[in-house]
Amino acid sequence: MRELSLNVMDIAQNSIVAGASLLEIGLCENTAEHILSITIKDNGSGMDEDALKSVTNPFYTKRTTRKVGLGVPLFKMACEQTGGSFFIDSQLGKGTSITAVFKTDSVDFTPIGDMVETVGLLISCNPNMDVVYTHRRDEGELTLDTRELREILGGDVALDTPDVSLWIKDYLKEQTALLYGGETN
């Protein structure tokens, strides 16, 4: 994966398959300490202890189309190769939470990439799931909670209405640019 935002999209696909109704994606950057942490948390079906133990093994997968599952191992590798760390926690029936911590000054750090694209698409293509996206960068913070958008839109206008999708993407773009001091990401 060339960008961490693609790993996030990949991990989020597992939450979608797990039937999550709420997906929380959090990025937290501390530029002075050169640390980035990414958390992906869902309230989907979760995993039992055996599955949780094997999920970082590339030869474990729930899919039936082939015998390898690389999503979680690739994300784990991406953070560990920077000297960071990886945490996964899951409870059957409750959901799964993954946190990856990266050292951003490592030569092996993969750039964050286009998070706006990832989050925008996750919302537009899964209109029945709620997404809470938080991106903190030092003092700055951006939050988008689709439950709040739903309140404004009412029950009849869906999150995948084309104009709504475009608004979400533009909003995220502007807010992200602010986090980076007005420069475009």
């Binding site: 990949d10 899919r63 694209e117 698409l121 899964n126 839109l153 206008v157 104009d163």
Partner: protein, 124 residues
């Protein structure tokens, strides 16, 4: 700056076309494979292009959505188009520049782009 006020205006406009969208029996579903294999092969820009172009062309009878591994990883990025009546067309080795033709010829005019389909690739 994008504001919530603007979102309210979008809502009011959308309410006008909403019945059209929900009650359309000719709904077409575009599904993009977004598992590890698809994403690594470049599926995200393809999905993004579909979402954007369908919105721009104002195709109220088309929904764009994502799915997991479709099972033919060597042909990723894979896009499936489910047509009213249950027929399915599978496009393989997709890229964002192929999306425009599929929207015009297939989604708008009802003629699948045969050369992008899995059938055309398997003969190679």
């Amino acid at each position: 700056m994008k504001s919530l006020e603007e979102l309210k205006a979008i809502r009011d406009k959308a309410r006008k076309d909403i019945n059209m969208r929900n009650e359309n029996p000719d709904q077409i579903r575009v599904v993009v494979g977004m598992a590890t294999c698809g994403i690594a092969a470049g599926a995200r820009p393809v999905l993004s292009q579909f979402v954007e172009d369908v919105a721009k062309a104002d195709l109220s009878n088309v929904t764009v959505t994502q799915t997991g591994c479709i099972g033919i990883c060597e042909y990723e990025p894979v896009v499936e188009v489910f047509q009213p009546g249950g027929d399915k067309i599978t496009y393989v080795k997709m890229s964002p520049d192929k999306v425009g033709r599929i929207i015009r010829e297939h989604l708008q005019q009802g003629r699948p782009v045969v050369e992008y389909t899995i059938g055309a690739h398997k003969k190679d």
